[in-house]
Each structure stands twice: as structure tokens, then as C-alpha cells.
């Protein structure tokens, strides 16, 4: 089943007075419990696509169908209700929060805003969410600035899954993490995907990370799709110039005695 279908998406910005296409005629689909990766050099349009899909910005052309509905046509209560099913995790998503806000507060918001649990019920739900992402429930009373980067990203994931989404947009969600923590967060994402059948639009500049978790990949170049396909097949044998350059630039760990 298709969760998200994007067709002929376009977004233009102006640079030095001249319009240019940040996203140019991009189409793709994501199925349930599927991970689609967006790869490409800096400025190729990855984050712009993420923002368009989340409707943080409006496209100049194209269509977005989410869970079978015309997402761009939604407004008001219908849009709010649908938004609960579409969540996001960014590189440091909690940076936007007051650092003195507690973890409980950060998780309480979506439960309250989307009427998911009554006030009395919420503390229990928050504890369950924390446990679901591998955190101790006692963390709830801690301030955001008092927890580690890895713990913050787990809280961000807990916040994202609080509304039972069918799709999570992850924009460089593991890029700032230490490698040991990164592995654990990726495992958590895969585990959630298996259990809850969540689809991911997974943006990363790191082909190694993409290869570890993504089913399919789209390689972008200057806002256009340079190539797409099975993630491992594309990375093993890239066809586009930009795909080849990305693979060639990825550092190899050559161990003669692994």
C-alpha cells in the first residue's frame, strides 16, 4: 500500500535575483513500512523536498498524496488530523525547544494537541513512549539540556511516534550522533518500522548509513532525480555522474584482516 505519492513536485527560489529550481519535477512513492532514502550533495534539494512533504512550505507545482488523500488540498481541522500521521525528526529537533523544558513537556504536547490521551492518562503514556524508545521513564522530569545527544534523539523519536504516524520524515537525523549511538538509533528506527509498520523518508548525505537502513534510494542532483532504485544496487553500481561521485567520495575502511 502506498503511504506517500509525490508527483512532478517543483519549488523555485530566487538566487541573486534570478529564479532557480531547488526542486524540479520530482516524483516518487513510499509504501508501508518502507524506507526511501534521499541522497545527493549539499544544495541538491533534499531538505526542500522534506519541507514540501511536511507542508512547511508550499510547492510551485506538483501533487502530494498522503494516505490516499490529496494532501495539498487539505486545510484546517482535516489538515491537522492528517498531520498527526506524518511526523518528522531532524538533526537536532529539540534545539527548537526551550532547553529548560522537561522531556515530559516535550512529549505531552503532541498527546494534548492531537487529543490522543486525557490529562490524567498522559503521564502513563509518556512513560510508555520513553520505554518504547529505550529510555528510562524517570527521564521524564529531566530538562532537555540535561540529557545527552543520543537521548535527545530518542526523545525526538518518541515525540514523533506519539501520534502513531504512518510516515516519518528524517532529515539527517543521525548525522550529529557518535557512531556507537548512531548504530543504536538506527536499530531503534528499524525496530519501530517492523513493529508499527512506519514508512521513512530518510535523508542523509552518508551512503553508508543509507545502505544500512534503506530499501530504495533516490539520488538528487540540482533538484532533479539523477537516478533511483534498490538502495544496495544503486550504491554498488551507480549510473549517474553524481551517484558515481558520491560513491567514490565515501571513505573506505580498508582492513586487510577484518
Amino acid at each position: 500500500m502506498t503511504v506517500l505519492a509525490v508527483s512532478n513536485l517543483a519549488k523555485r527560489y530566487r538566487r541573486g535575483g534570478k529564479p532557480f529550481a531547488a526542486v524540479d519535477d520530482v516524483s516518487f512513492e513510499i509504501g508501508r513500512a518502507e524506507t526511501l532514502a534521499l541522497a545527493g550533495p549539499s544544495g541538491s534539494g533534499k531538505s526542500t523536498i522534506a519541507r514540501l512533504v511536511l507542508r512547511l512550505i508550499e510547492p510551485d507545482a506538483g501533487r502530494i498524496d498522503f494516505e490516499g488523500a490529496d494532501f495539498l488540498a487539505l486545510s484546517g481541522a482535516a489538515l491537522r488530523a492528517r498531520r498527526a500521521r506524518l511526523q518528522m525528526v531532524f538533526q537536532d529537533p529539540l534545539a527548537a525547544f526551550n532547553p529548560r523544558a522537561t522531556v515530559a513537556r516535550v512529549l505531552d504536547d503532541p498527546l494534548r494537541i492531537h487529543n490522543i490521551a486525557s490529562r490524567a492518562e498522559r503521564p502513563r503514556r509518556i512513560a510508555a513512549l520513553l520505554e518504547r524508545v529505550g529510555l528510562d521513564a524517570s527521564l521524564a522530569s529531566r530538562a532537555i539540556h540535561e540529557i545527552s545527544g543520543g537521548q535527545r534523539q530518542r526523545v525526538a523519536i518518541a515525540r514523533a511516534i506519539a501520534t502513531r504516524p504512518s510516515l516519518i520524515v528524517l532529515d539527517e537525523a543521525v548525522s550529529a550522533l557518535d557512531v556507537s549511538v548512531r548504530g543504536q538509533i538506527l536499530e531503534l528506527l528499524l525496530d519501530l518500522q517492523r513493529q508499527e509498520r512506519i514508512a521513512y523518508l530518510f535523508i542523509s548525505h552518508d551512503l553508508g548509513v543509507i545502505r544500512a537502513v534503506a530499501h530504495r534510494i533516490i539520488v538528487l542532483d540540482s533538484g532533479r532525480v539523477a537516478e533511483s532504485g534498490d538502495a544496495r544496487a544503486v550504491i554498488a553500481n551507480p549510473q549517474s555522474a553524481i551517484g558515481k561521485a558520491l560513491v567514490a567520495a565515501t571513505p573506505r575502511l580498508t582492513r586487510s584482516r577484518p
Binding site: S42, G183, Q193
Partner: protein, 334 residues
């Protein structure tokens, strides 16, 4: 090989009551080598880089010694680096790129037998306003103290933070040459243009007068590198210099650093969280964890026969293009 710098029992705390950012680190940096310092966040790698460059914040509590061996000829202000001014030849014989610290130069700058700890307090009390390196190494004779900019080039992660947003980049590079090489403005600007060409910026004539915001992240980092090597430093420190760049630009900057270090016979301290990236460049790799030096060895040994379990765990956590995808290990389905 001669040690360019010997770090002995270096400990740093950022606050008097704080935990150690570095705990008793000892290592030699050989002249001409490319040494990578790797570790995860909070491991102390930037603290080590800043300590070497004399850039630690005033309040930092520093113990231990950093001992330099810098040939006198190269710390004098009349010194003109070979690579930077190719047509000024008198000093050439002293710094063959292959043996930048050859014994024909006087080796000075070794500390006396009794080495007082490096103390930022001395600098504070003296009331001087020069660079930290001067203040923190009070036991050095004045002319053997390594100067940031002149003897040490430093490249930071974020080029925007090291470049002045309202000054043309050519002038920023020329400023370094003027300050440390005693050149006049016209000469410094000529040198800046040569440097922009050396870091492979397209049309150096135009870039000379460009402002940082007109350049991409990768181009800004090239400018920052040009400024860092403008005075012909012996030591180039790159602290996560490619971490903010995309994979393709990162590979280009690493190739640039490799070439410049070879051409100028510089010693390189390459600070990175990425062991695979570090391994593409380094002769030796030092692994830091929680402020301690866990392991130090030839790159080949670190990759193929790590002695410490932590080093092994870092290698295993690397997600390479040949690793078994987590997807398979988990048996997830689409």
C-alpha cells in the same frame, strides 16, 4: 624522525571544579607526519588541538608540558616559506619539503630539564594581550615560542566562524602573511592570489575580492586553509575541518590538505570523529576516549590489529559500503 612536539602528561579542565577534558595525555608528534586524533564527542580531541595551538580559554586549568622543537630559522620573521613564495630562493636550502626539520638548522626551543607546568595564570598576571600560546608557555625563550598563524595553521570545522564576514577574503589571507612574514600589502596580496590558486579556487583574481557569503561552504573552507598556510606554518591543525561539508566536498578538501601538506612538508594534526576518513589521510592514529589516550599506532595497525576493545568497537560501528546492512541483520521487511 624528530619530534616536532612532545606532549607530556597533559591534563585540561575547563573549570576548576570540572571533570578533566584531557587526562594525562602523552604523545610525540613527529616532524612531517600526518597524525590523526580520533574520538567521539567529549573525548577531548578538540581540547588537545586547542591546547597545542595555545587557544584554550583563559579559565582552563592546564597541567603538563608541550615541548616544541622548531628550527630557529623557521621562527624568524624573515623566513619565507618555499611553497608560498616560489621565487624567493635564499631560504630554500633550509627547508626542503622532504625534510622540513633537517638537522642543518639549529634545534632550539627545547625546554630546560626542569619543566614548569604550562600555566595560563602566568599570562593572566603578566597582562599581555598576545595569543594564548605565548602566555601559556612562559618558560620558552621569546623567539622559540610557536606562534599561531606563523608556526601553526589552524583550520576549524565552520569556515564561517574563522572568516570575517565583512572583509574580502584576499585581504584576510594577505593579513596573515603581512602579520607573520613582514611583507608589505602589495606583496601580501600577490601571495594571497598565489594561495587561492594553490587551494584550487576558480579565478583567484575574482575570489580575491569576494566576501565569504558569496562562496559555498567548500570554497570558504578552501579560503580558510589558504589563510592557515599563508605564513608557511610547520604544523597544520585541521579540527573536524570537513565535518560540515558534504561527502564530495569533504573528499576534495581531504585531497587538498594531503597535497598541501606534502608540498610544503608540513606536519598535520587531523582531528576527526570519523575513523574511516582519518585512515585515508593519516600515517598514525591516536584514539581518545573520555579525555584519555586509549591507543596510538600506525594506521595499518589500528585498522587491522587494534589493541584496545574501544578501537575495535569504533571500527565495527563504521557503516561502510561493504558492511552487512542493518536491515538484513534485523530481518526487516518492506
Amino acid at each position: 624522525m624528530t619530534a616536532l612536539l612532545s606532549i607530556r602528561d597533559l591534563s585540561v579542565r575547563y573549570r576548576r571544579d570540572g571533570v578533566g577534558a584531557l587526562k594525562g595525555v602523552s604523545l610525540h608528534v613527529e616532524a612531517g607526519e600526518r597524525l590523526a586524533i580520533i574520538g567521539e564527542s567529549g573525548s577531548g580531541k578538540s581540547t588537545l588541538a586547542l591546547a597545542v595551538a595555545g587557544l584554550l580559554a583563559k579559565g582552563a586549568v592546564i597541567d603538563g608540558t608541550i615541548e616544541w622543537t622548531i628550527p630557529k630559522s623557521q621562527t624568524s620573521h624573515s623566513f619565507a616559506p618555499l611553497s608560498v613564495l616560489p621565487d624567493i630562493s635564499p631560504t630554500r636550502g633550509e627547508i626542503e619539503p622532504s625534510s622540513p626539520l633537517s638537522p642543518i638548522s639549529n634545534v632550539v626551543g627545547e625546554m630546560p630539564a626542569a619543566k614548569p607546568p604550562i600555566s595560563p595564570l602566568v599570562g593572566e598576571m603578566s597582562g599581555r594581550t598576545e595569543g594564548g600560546a605565548v602566555e601559556r608557555q612562559p618558560s620558552h625563550p621569546r623567539d622559540t615560542i610557536p606562534h599561531l598563524g606563523r608556526d601553526i595553521g589552524f583550520v576549524f570545522q565552520d569556515p564561517s566562524s574563522s572568516l570575517d564576514p565583512v572583509m574580502p577574503v584576499g585581504k584576510q589571507i594577505a593579513e596573515v602573511a603581512r602579520a607573520h612574514l613582514g611583507l608589505g600589502w602589495p606583496q601580501s596580496m600577490t601571495l594571497a592570489k598565489t594561495l587561492l590558486d594553490r587551494v584550487r579556487l576558480p579565478s583567484p583574481d575574482a575570489v580575491l575580492y569576494a566576501y565569504p557569503h558569496q562562496l559555498s561552504g567548500g570554497q570558504k573552507q578552501r579560503v580558510a586553509i589558504a589563510a592557515a598556510i599563508a605564513a608557511g606554518p610547520k604544523l597544520l591543525i585541521a579540527d573536524e575541518a570537513t565535518s560540515a561539508l558534504d561527502t564530495i566536498v569533504q573528499a576534495e578538501i581531504v585531497a587538498l590538505i594531503r597535497r598541501l601538506v606534502a608540498e610544503d612538508g608540513m606536519t598535520l594534526l587531523f582531528i576527526s570523529h570519523d575513523i574511516a576518513l582519518a585512515a585515508t589521510l593519516a600515517d598514525r592514529i591516536a584514539v581518545l576516549r573520555h579525555g584519555e589516550l586509549i591507543e596510538l599506532g600506525e594506521t595499518d595497525q589500528i585498522l587491522n590489529a587494534p589493541r584496545h576493545a574501544y578501537t575495535r568497537s569504533l571500527l565495527d560501528a563504521h557503516l561502510g559500503l561493504d558492511a552487512r546492512p542493518l536491515l538484513d541483520r534485523q530481518g526487516a521487511s518492506a
